[in-house]
């Protein structure tokens, strides 16, 4: 038997499974456990265009790969920014990277905050903890087109004053006349004289027109559940609320099966969902 006459054409594993190598341009600790990496492609060139809310699969050599949302400005194609907390094996290794170290990146994957649908409306951004990171690109996008929106409200809750993410940027935004920024902490420490309490408690008095608003929400799942309840209590329809979900992901392209939530694949149908689409899934324990 000879198979030589039937030479087959080799194929690569599909491109979305092959990481592109990036170089660390700058590292920065945002809080005690949260850091940002500014990355550029090792071979030069632009980073792939991405939409606010999308994520990358980030690979640390010999350690592993995890999904991390993109935190930079979608208008900038020269720099990729990821902000994450050092909580697991990969993120701990990632936190130890230095300038000029390299890592692998696949993406961008997943759905995006549909900020364009909010044109002509008030925008309510509600973030809990590290949940501000995937919302920041949406903020940049909105600010770049500020005249297209009504009031823009950012409600942010952190555990303690020391955990407030992007503090300088928040202070800058808070100083702008065309933004309403409210920050609260679960526990006041030190000389904090700001608001204390859950981020949900800010919703009742936030300045927006519930009948003409779009809300985008990111934080722990429980926080998002209570936040959406409060938003709906104020009168925003579930169709105008978007949330971002987190699940175990190995491929990012809907083939590995890990991120299933009922009939959706969080990686490709999400991570950003219209709240009314997934509300029934979020109330099911161990789904």
């Amino acid at each position: 038997m000879s198979t030589l006459d039937f030479v087959t054409v080799p194929v690569n594993v599909s491109d979305p499974m092959i990481p592109r190598v990036y170089r660390v341009l700058r590292t920065r600790w945002n809080t005690g456990d949260t850091f940002s990496l500014e990355l550029v492609p090792q071979e030069g060139g632009d980073i792939p265009a991405f939409e606010p809310g999308q994520f990358n699969m980030v690979y640390i050599y010999g350690v592993g790969e995890i999904p991390i949302s993109i935190s930079g400005d979608p208008a900038r194609r020269d720099l990729l920014i990821h902000t994450t907390r050092a909580v697991g094996t990969v993120t701990h290794s990632m936190s130890k990277l230095n300038v000029d170290d390299t890592l692998g990146v696949r993406g961008p994957f997943g759905s995006a905050w549909p900020v364009e649908l909010g044109r002509g409306k008030d925008i309510v951004i509600v973030a809990g903890g590290i949940g501000l990171a995937p919302l920041r690109p949406a903020m940049y996008r909105i600010l770049a087109n500020r005249e297209q929106y009504g009031r823009v409200v950012l409600l942010y809750g952190a555990r303690t004053p020391a955990d407030v993410l992007y503090r300088k940027e928040l202070e800058q935004w808070r100083s702008q006349f065309d933004l309403d920024v409210f920050v609260t902490v679960d526990r006041a420490t030190g000389n904090w004289r700001g608001s204390v309490g859950l981020v949900t408690q800010l919703i009742g008095r936030a300045p927006f027109d519930p009948l003409n608003s779009m809300a985008i929400v990111c934080g722990p799942e429980l926080m998002m559940r209570f936040t959406t309840m409060e938003l709906m209590k104020r009168g925003i329809s579930g169709n105008n609320i978007y949330i971002s979900l987190e699940r175990n992901m190995k491929c990012g392209i809907g083939l590995c099966g890990h991120c299933q939530l009922g009939s959706v694949f969080v990686c490709k149908d999400g991570p950003v969902f219209q709240h009314s689409q997934v509300e029934h899934l979020l109330t099911r324990w161990e789904l």
Partner: protein, 393 residues
């Protein structure tokens, strides 16, 4: 057989048993490696064969929940055994696949692996397994992203289907509309007819490639009586299914019974070993693993079959989404029989019965679905929604 080929060629022929080796030789001559059922360690597995004598000749099997035994069957019969633990999935979607290799000499460098599809002749593919390939086609190459290794291998298959002359005790392809007759998706389909005086196959040609190959194999035209015999065999098989699954409204039934207490009952028996997912011809979940060399000079990315029955499968920071056995069995069954329909437009179950046979504690998917149906405690989604609002307003 490429997945796009259709069985437009319904010409039927007769292949005598003594010419069966000629069929294998013809496939060999076209550069195909022959993969077929073959007995090994007391079970029938799919692996390379050299000659017709490697088939499980004269053997049959006894299958029940948690039970599999090979035993003597009709002497001389080539395809008297039903399905074993293997499925053809392993040739298209390998249990272990190296995706790429990384080096870190100063800077990270990633080299993707090349995969050479092989010309494989799959011999003895049952109708339910053709159904499983159709399911995998939709999952792995029907969406936005494709598994290119699967697709390339899929295009290099020659499929010799075999219509079932006997239904196993754990079979229910008739319930899932996948068998026992091979309707499409093959190059050749055989029905084995074993009579005291004559042993032969009625052959249906399903593709141009099948016709080209069969032209080089000694055969005759089939008589109407031969075709009738083959049809009767398949029809009889259809009425002898060992299992039955009522699929009426099964998607809504399972969605509505998320909180059914019967899940606790099956969880008390389930070992969460994952056997069912490994023998399933459509389970497609994988994980990736990084294997670093001891020196640290290189690391490989390996993709492996994974199972939703493991705790780690659903791990996110803060814990495992599906920590209980109850939730993991429910996920598997509900995905297979319900969510799959929403995701891919068909059931994920083809009725092959492997999960029943190979479950070490004998959990029977058809029984579990029946139990849920009999003790349905529907909890419509809208109701739970209202309840939450009520509690908080």
């Amino acid at each position: 057989m490429t997945k796009s080929s259709k069985a437009d060629f319904k010409s039927r022929f007769v292949l005598e048993r003594q010419d069966f080796q000629c069929l294998l030789d013809a496939l060999n001559g076209q550069g195909y490696r022959l993969i077929a059922p073959t007995p090994r360690d007391g079970a029938v597995v799919y692996d390379e064969i050299a000659a017709v004598s490697d088939l499980p000749i004269g053997l049959t099997d006894e299958q029940e929940r948690g039970t599999y035994r090979l035993k003597d069957g009709d002497p001389g019969r080539l395809f008297g055994c039903g399905l074993g633990p293997h499925s053809w999935k392993k040739f298209l979607y390998p249990a272990e696949l190296r995706l790429w290799n990384a080096h870190a000499n100063g800077s990270l460098a990633i080299t993707p692996d090349d995969h050479h599809p092989e010309r494989l002749a799959l011999i003895g593919v049952r109708a339910c397994e053709l159904g499983a390939l159709r399911v995998l086609d939709r999952v792995l190459s029907g969406g936005q992203y494709h598994d290119t290794v699967y697709e390339a291998q899929r295009d290099h298959l020659f499929i010799v289907a075999v219509n079932c002359g006997r239904a196993g005790n754990t079979c229910f392809c008739a319930s899932m509309n996948t068998g026992p007759r091979a309707e499409s998706g093959f190059d050749l389909a055989l029905t084995e007819i074993l009579e005291p005086e004559r042993h032969y196959f009625v052959v249906e040609v399903g593709s141009e490639a099948g016709q080209r190959l069969f032209d080089g194999v000694p055969h005759q035209s089939a008589l109407e009586a031969d075709v009738q015999k083959a049809t009767t065999i398949i029809e009889t098989t259809a009425t002898h299914m060992g299992r039955h699954l009522d699929t009426t409204g099964i998607k809504d039934l399972l969605y509505a019974n998320f909180e059914n207490s019967e899940w606790d009952e099956v969880a008390a028996r389930c070992l969460t070993c994952g056997n069912c997912t490994l023998v399933c011809p459509t389970c497609f979940c994988t994980t990736v693993e990084d294997v670093a060399e001891l020196t640290g000079a290189s690391a490989q990315r390996i993709r492996r079959w994974d199972s939703c029955f493991t705790m780690d499968f659903s791990y996110v920071v803060g814990g495992h989404v599906r920590a209980s056995a109850r939730s993991r069995y429910r996920q598997w069954l509900t995905h297979k029989l319900a969510a799959w329909i929403d995701q891919f437009g068909s059931s994920g179950c083809v009725g092959c019965g492997r999960c029943i046979t190979w479950c070490p504690v004998g959990i029977d998917l058809t029984e579990e679905a029946k139990t849920i149906r009999a003790h349905s405690q529907p909890k419509p989604e809208t109701k739970s929604r209202k309840k939450i609002h009520h509690e908080n307003t």
